[in-house]
Homo-oligomer: 211 residues x 2
Amino acid sequence: MAPAVPWKLFGLAAMAVTLSLEGLLRFLRRKRPVREVLFFPVPLTCTEPVLSPGTSCSCPLPHTDSALARFLRRLLGARRSLELCVFTFSSPPLARAVLLLHHRGVRVRVITDSDYMAAAGSQIGELRRAGVVVRHNQSSGFMHHKFVVIDKRLVITGSMNWTVQATQTNRENLLITDDSVCVSAYLGEFERLWEEYDPATYEFFPEEGKN
Amino acid sequence: MAPAVPWKLFGLAAMAVTLSLEGLLRFLRRKRPVREVLFFPVPLTCTEPVLSPGTSCSCPLPHTDSALARFLRRLLGARRSLELCVFTFSSPPLARAVLLLHHRGVRVRVITDSDYMAAAGSQIGELRRAGVVVRHNQSSGFMHHKFVVIDKRLVITGSMNWTVQATQTNRENLLITDDSVCVSAYLGEFERLWEEYDPATYEFFPEEGKN
């Protein structure tokens, strides 16, 4: 008599092996999460290699990598959308990056603070002249956020305003993450403020309106 | 003749089942990562339920939960250490939380900005009088960070200074994470600044020293 084939045992082994392999494949295939922290200030370096890749630059500045260059590369990685919510914006290389994205067809939306958007050196006027839609607060408190959401999948937040002083002189930090809980939270805040700061709802003479 | 026992198949099945179970257990036992984002401003509420739990408060303020209360609870969760690096610090409830930790025996270290530490309403003097060690920058740029590391396992960072205006009036954000890459980065920055701002290296009359 031929020995009984232990079908049950065979089935169990096959199932367990499949499960183990599936777990192993999922483990190997998992996307590495983006977690990066950048610290400032950084010495003044040439940002042309990032902003105009492929062109050669012979300016006297050092052409080394820096936290600012890494920040610019993250921004320029945008393919579809950029939601920027920043208190003060006067950094020329960061403005160039935003304009490059706008001209490339990325949907750029900017929220800023009304008290600082027309200050000396502000880049907000440049952005508006180029056609970037900018909204701002009207309340007494500051719109003090400094975050940007890239392609609805990456958020960069921290202490740093987008100014020359912040990148070159101050002690600042930027946290970069693609954690979905964080990205959703910042996107939600952006959309809430975008609606709240809709120019259709601006009160241009709020005090007069009360009389 | 007794049927041959398929030992190899049996061993393979046992091993695969063990691996599957181990993976399942690891999945079930994994610690949920801390990812939270708090947004401000929040309406003025009573923080006594958080700062003095167990006592009753009959003040006229609302006794509801808020982003500030959640922030305070995170801080008060410290058991061993608190590394605070903040540009401006004038919020009384946040100062009370730091003092509570200091009196509880938590090792509290504070880094702040020299231009603002003696400003009206600053809580830095209160902390120093209570024995909290505070260091500050001496350079021309701002020490503009606003982050805190709790028990070397949680970091809270964002746009928000520890002021009443920030919590009650401004648009602000705080990102809370226990991601080890982020925590290590902020701890490293804290230790670098802590050494750099050691009072033993202060130059009290830097301009005179150059003559």
